[in-house]
C-alpha cells in the first residue's frame, strides 16, 4: 500500500462524560475513497472537525503529508492542502459563487495581504475559480449570490471550493445530503473521478453512493471504529448490519 496522505492515530475526544472519539486510527492512501459510516451521533462529524482543525482532540496524533499537524490551526492545515466540505453548507452568503471560489484560489496563491489590485479584474484569480466551478457543474450560476443557490447547488459549491484549493486530500461530510436522485448520480460520478486527484475521506449516509464509490469503509459506532474493510466485507459484517445498516441496505 502506498504511503498514507493522511494518518490518524489513537485520536480521543470527550464532551464531558460522552466519548465522541475513542482511540480512532484511520488512514487515507493516494487514489482511494475511504468511506466513514456509522449511526447518527457516532462521532463522524466530530472526527472530521478534529482532522480539519476546528476542534481540538484530547489526545492522539494526526499526520498529513507525513508531517504531524495536531498543533497547527485550521487555516494552516487548509493551506497545506486539506480541503473540506461541511455537513451543513458553510459559505459566504453575500458573495457570488465565483467569489466564494476565488477566496480559495487567493489563499492557495499565498497572501491575502494585497491591498490595491481589484480581484474581479485579476485573471489569476478569476480563471482558476471559473475552472473549478465548471468542473463542479456550477459555471452557469457563477454570478449568483450563495444565499440564493438551492440546497443542491450549495453542495456543489462546497466541492468547487475544495477543488480550487488544490487540495491534497478531501474531507467530505455528507455531500449527498439533500440531493435528489439526479444530483446524487452526477455527484457520484464526479467523486469517482476526483479520487485520482486526491484521496477522499467520505462521510455519507447514502449507502448507494458509498457502496458504489468506496475502496474501503470504516464503521464508527459510539466513537470507536468497529470495522474497516472493503465494501463486501462491511456489507456482510453482522455487527455492522445490526448497528447501522438494519434490514435494508
Amino acid at each position: 500500500m502506498a504511503e498514507a496522505v493522511l494518518a490518524i492515530r489513537d485520536l480521543c475526544k470527550s464532551f464531558g462524560a460522552l466519548r465522541a472519539t475513542e482511540n480512532v486510527s484511520i488512514d487515507l492512501v493516494p487514489g482511494e475513497i475511504h468511506a466513514l459510516i456509522g449511526p447518527n451521533g457516532a462521532g463522524k462529524s466530530t472526527l472530521i472537525h478534529q482532522i480539519a482543525g476546528t476542534l481540538k482532540p484530547d489526545s492522539g496524533e494526526i499526520e498529513f503529508l507525513g508531517k504531524p499537524v495536531s498543533h497547527i490551526g485550521a487555516a494552516e492545515r487548509a493551506r497545506m492542502g486539506l480541503g473540506r466540505s461541511f455537513q451543513v453548507s458553510s459559505l459566504a452568503p453575500e458573495f457570488s459563487a465565483l467569489r466564494n471560489v476565488m477566496l480559495a484560489v487567493q489563499s492557495r496563491q499565498g497572501t491575502s495581504f494585497r491591498f490595491f489590485k481589484p480581484v474581479m479584474r485579476d485573471a489569476a484569480l478569476v480563471e482558476p475559480a471559473m475552472e473549478a466551478l465548471e468542473r463542479a457543474g456550477l459555471k452557469d450560476r457563477a454570478r449568483v449570490p450563495a444565499a440564493e443557490l438551492s440546497h443542491g447547488e450549495r453542495r456543489q459549491l462546497e466541492i468547487a471550493i475544495a477543488l480550487a484549493l488544490g487540495s491534497r486530500a478531501f474531507l467530505l461530510d455528507e455531500p449527498m445530503a439533500g440531493m435528489g436522485p439526479e444530483g446524487s448520480k452526477t455527484l457520484t460520478s464526479f467523486l469517482d473521478g476526483l479520487r485520482r486527484e486526491a484521496p477522499i475521506l467520505l462521510v455519507e449516509h447514502d449507502m448507494d453512493a458509498v457502496f458504489a464509490l468506496a475502496d474501503r469503509i470504516s464503521v464508527l459506532v459510539y466513537g470507536r471504529v468497529i470495522a474497516t474493510g472493503t465494501v463486501e466485507e462491511i456489507r456482510s459484517d453482522p455487527e455492522v448490519r445490526r448497528a447501522y445498516l438494519g434490514g435494508a441496505e
Partner: protein
C-alpha cells in the same frame, strides 16, 4: 372530507416567482407525497401553506376554512405540525424543552415521544445544538408530533439519517398512517416513499404537473419528473 385544499397557489421571493400555480389536496387520514426535483418548489409550497412565505394568489383551506390570510401561528394552531427542511431545532433549548416549548395536549406527549425515539430520552437535558445531525432530525419530528397536529408535514425528514434510523422513521410514518394521521410528505427516498403514500403530487418549475396514485407513477414518469 378534504383536510387540506390548495388551488392555484402563486408565491414570490421578493421579485422572483417560485410558485406558478400549485394544486394539491390531502384528505383526512391520507398520506400524500409531494415530489419533484431540486428547486421545483416543494419547500416553498409548504412555506406557503403555513404563510411563512405568504402566497400572492391562490387559496389554501384547512378543514374547509380559508387560512391564507392568517398568520403562521394561527394556522399552526388550527392543526398543522411542521418538520421543516434543515431541522431547525432550537439550539439553546434542551431536548426536553424543544419538545415542550410548543406542545399541545393530545395523544403525543413526552413519554410517547421517548418511546418512539429512545435516543432523545438519553439526551433529554442536552442542548439541541450539540446533538448530532440525526438526533436533531428525530427531535424535529418529535417536536412536530408534540403539537398533536391534524396534518403532519414532513419536509425531507429522513435526510442525513443512518439507514437503521431511517427505517425506524419510515416505520413511525407507517404507524402514524395506520392510526389515521394525515400526512403531507416530501422525501428523496422513493423506495420508501412510494409504498407509504396514498397519493403523489409532482411539481415542476413551481406548478403541479401530475398527480395520482403511487402505482401510476411509472418508471418513465419518474425519469421525466424526478430524474431517476
Amino acid at each position: 372530507m378534504k383536510l387540506l385544499e390548495i388551488a392555484g397557489l402563486e408565491t414570490f421571493y421578493g421579485a422572483s416567482q417560485a410558485l406558478f400555480g400549485v394544486d394539491l389536496d390531502v384528505a383526512e387520514g391520507e398520506v400524500v407525497a409531494l415530489m419533484g426535483r431540486n428547486g421545483m418548489g416543494k419547500t416553498t409550497t409548504i412555506r406557503s401553506i403555513l404563510a411563512m412565505t405568504p402566497a400572492r394568489a391562490g387559496k389554501v383551506r384547512l378543514g374547509g376554512r380559508e387560512i391564507q390570510a392568517m398568520r403562521p401561528h394561527r394556522i399552526a394552531r388550527l392543526g398543522i405540525g411542521l418538520v421543516p427542511e434543515g431541522r431547525r431545532c432550537f439550539p439553546n433549548l434542551t431536548v426536553a424543552e424543544n419538545l415542550l416549548a410548543a406542545a399541545r395536549s393530545g395523544r403525543w406527549n413526552l413519554a410517547e415521544i421517548n418511546r418512539l425515539f429512545p435516543r432523545l430520552e438519553e439526551r433529554r437535558d442536552q442542548m439541541a445544538r450539540t446533538l448530532s445531525g440525526g438526533e436533531q432530525q428525530m427531535l424535529a419530528i418529535g417536536r412536530a408530533l408534540m403539537t398533536n397536529p391534524r396534518l403532519l408535514i414532513l419536509d425531507e425528514a429522513t435526510e442525513g439519517l443512518a439507514p437503521v434510523i431511517r427505517n425506524d422513521i419510515w416505520a413511525v410514518i407507517r404507524v402514524l398512517k395506520a392510526e389515521g394521521q394525515s400526512i403531507l410528505i416530501v422525501d428523496k427516498t422513493l423506495s420508501e416513499l412510494l409504498p407509504s403514500a396514498d397519493r403523489c403530487v409532482v411539481l415542476e418549475k413551481g406548478a403541479t404537473v401530475w398527480s395520482g396514485r403511487p402505482g401510476e407513477l411509472t418508471p418513465s414518469l419518474q425519469d421525466r419528473y424526478l430524474g431517476v
